[in-house]
């Protein structure tokens, strides 16, 4: 029979030690955030009201209309059409860089291109376009992954029936990948809700008593509101910014949880 030697025992001890060490590290990573969330709820909970919740981010919705079609088209191209060559690599590099460019540089681009060059002024349109380009990689990557998860055999079966490429994509690939695409879109909405820097100079204002009437108006955004209330307005009630932060973080976490739950549900009932 196997008996434990001294070496075995010490190895086991080392393993246990590292297991606990890494567990503690994971815990320490998560703990501060839980503390912070509790503080936000504790301090900001009192100022929440129904009224307060209705300052919704308009920019995100318009951005969505632009980036979803382009993003999905790009993902279909990369997953279904593109060959594995230098050109596709360049597209991939461009996507990676688009995702990695600092948000303030996106803001500069928004100012230079949309506000000044195309003469949109600081408006919802300019802010939305900036946000749309910034969040494009989120949509592309999520969509491409879900398209690639559809087994090749599905496509082959369809082609054998004489279907064109587009018929195959529309009738077979997209219906099987739609869940992943939706998850990506929810994530994008969440990103746009939280972004501040790209919209500061392109279309959002700290306060306007009116709801925007058209895409050339300026609008309020929760994230910018938090920034200004926290740093530049003297004499606001102490709890107010905590309330704004709480609403913002609540919206973002809610949307992300929704997309995660959605993903898990669909993964569970996947047919293949």
């Amino acid at each position: 029979m196997f008996t434990e030697t001294a070496l075995n025992a010490s190895n086991k001890k080392v393993q246990r030690l590292f297991r606990i060490l890494f567990m503690l590290m994971t815990g320490l990573l998560i703990l501060p955030v839980l503390i912070i969330l509790t503080m936000l709820v504790y301090k900001g909970g009192s100022v929440l009201s129904i009224d307060f919740l209705f300052t919704s981010p308009t920019d995100g919705n318009v951005a969505l209309l632009i980036s979803v079609p382009i993003g999905v088209a790009a993902a279909i191209y990369l997953s279904e059409y593109a060959a594995d060559n230098w050109f596709t690599r360049i597209i991939n590099l461009a996507i990676i860089n688009l995702a990695g460019v600092p948000s303030i540089v996106h803001a500069l681009f928004g100012v230079g291109a949309f506000v000044i060059f195309f003469r949109f002024g600081t408006s919802i349109l300019a802010a939305s376009l900036t946000l749309a380009i910034m969040t494009l990689p989120v949509v592309i990557v999520a969509t491409r992954e879900s398209l690639q998860a559809v087994p090749m055999a599905f496509r082959e079966a369809c082609w054998n029936m004489g279907a064109t490429r587009w018929q195959t994509i529309r009738r077979v690939v997209l219906p099987n990948a739609i869940s992943g695409i939706l998850t990506g879109i929810i994530l994008e909405v969440s990103r746009t809700t939280g972004e501040t820097a790209p919209i500061m100079f392109t279309g959002a204002v700290f306060f306007t008593p009116f709801l925007p009437q058209g895409i050339f108006d300026q609008t309020m955004a929760l994230s910018l509101h938090l920034f200004v209330v926290a740093t530049q307005v003297p004499g606001v009630p102490e709890n107010l910014p905590f309330g704004v932060a709480l609403v913002l973080i609540g919206m973002v976490l809610l949307m992300n949880s929704l997309s995660i739950a959605f993903r898990m549900y669909l993964r569970a009932r996947k047919k293949w």
């Binding site: 297991r19 969440s190 926290a230 913002l248």
Partner: protein
């Protein structure tokens, strides 16, 4: 037209044309990413070019620690102190986030199993989603008094504050990329080592970590790029003083935060305005290099 074909077999019906049309449309979508990244570079360069050509003194720009663009007589545009601010904050953030996120990735990927692992992964994903302006707010309102109390310093908005905030921000992103890199190591490597009688830790230390080395390096690089480009959190938590820091309790100012704070106050086309765009070009190029390097390293793993 193929007139001499024996049988009349023309595939060009409506669906055929539709197929071609879609092919063109998705191709346009595909190249949009290239168009946008080039567009970003072109437009920020267009706005900043006047400064680079006419006003900029290359030596002053990179080596002078004085950023005094609103001085009427002799405005000075030196970004050294801003670079030092960004570097010190990002450096401290990495000291916080690298060990913790690699440790967390190893725990989640190699030790935890089943429900615990799923739960932790979801939690990390949610942490990564917290907006940066909220982090900045936390630095401003919660960390600030805490640092003043703990270390008995007059101001709590400094390198330490921003570094910790940025570290907490980048850690979840680095954790999930590092976890992916660990997952990319084939299970048969682990099985082979375990069959030789190695403990879980020996497997991780001798087999998994060396095999995932490049992926982990890529994760760290992407974390650096992330920290470097972060704007709102460092704007709110650094104290915003142009200063080369001598200790972690000195307030500093970051490159990104300078743009965010000053762009609204400058006249379009002025030297100051163009100088801010020049900083933008600088940021763009640096993150471009970091992202390319990270991609090359990670891709190297997949191929090898």
């Amino acid at each position: 037209m193929d007139t001499d074909s024996a049988i009349d077999f023309d595939r060009r019906n409506l669906d055929w044309y539709l197929d071609k049309l879609v092919q063109v449309l998705v191709f346009i979508g595909g190249i949009s990413a290239i168009v946008f990244i080039v567009g970003i570079f072109v437009f920020i360069t267009k706005e900043g070019l006047g400064f680079i050509i006419n006003t900029m003194d290359v030596k002053e720009f990179f080596l002078s620690p004085y950023w005094e663009p609103s001085d009427e007589d002799a405005p000075e545009y030196g970004i050294l102190a801003l670079v030092a601010g960004t570097a010190s904050v990002t450096g401290l953030a990495l000291l916080v986030s690298i060990p913790f996120s690699l440790g967390a990735a190893v725990y989640i990927g190699e030790f935890a199993s089943g429900k615990t692992r799923e739960f932790l992964k979801v939690l990390v994903e949610l942490l990564a989603a917290i907006p940066s302006v909220v982090w900045g707010f936390i630095g401003l309102t919660l960390m600030n008094p805490l640092i003043i109390q703990l270390f008995d310093v007059p101001v709590g908005l400094n390198v330490l504050n921003a570094g910790i905030i940025l570290g907490l921000m980048t850690a979840p992103i680095m954790t999930s990329i590092a976890e992916d890199a660990l997952k990319a190591v084939p299970d048969r490597y682990r099985e082979a080592a375990e069959a030789m009688g190695a403990t879980r830790w020996q497997v991780i230390y001798k087999v998994v970590l060396p095999a995932a080395k490049n992926g982990l390096l890529g994760a760290v690089l992407l974390g650096i790029g992330r920290g470097f480009g972060e704007t709102m959190a460092v704007l709110m938590a650094t104290g915003h003083a142009v200063n080369i820091p001598h200790s972690i309790f000195d307030p500093v100012r970051a490159l990104t935060a300078t743009i965010a704070a000053e762009l609204g106050e400058t006249a379009v086309g002025s030297d100051h305005y163009q100088a801010l765009f020049t900083i933008g070009i600088f940021l763009f190029l640096i993150t471009f290099v970091i992202n390319m390097t990270a991609d090359l390293i990670v891709r190297g793993v997949r191929r090898g």
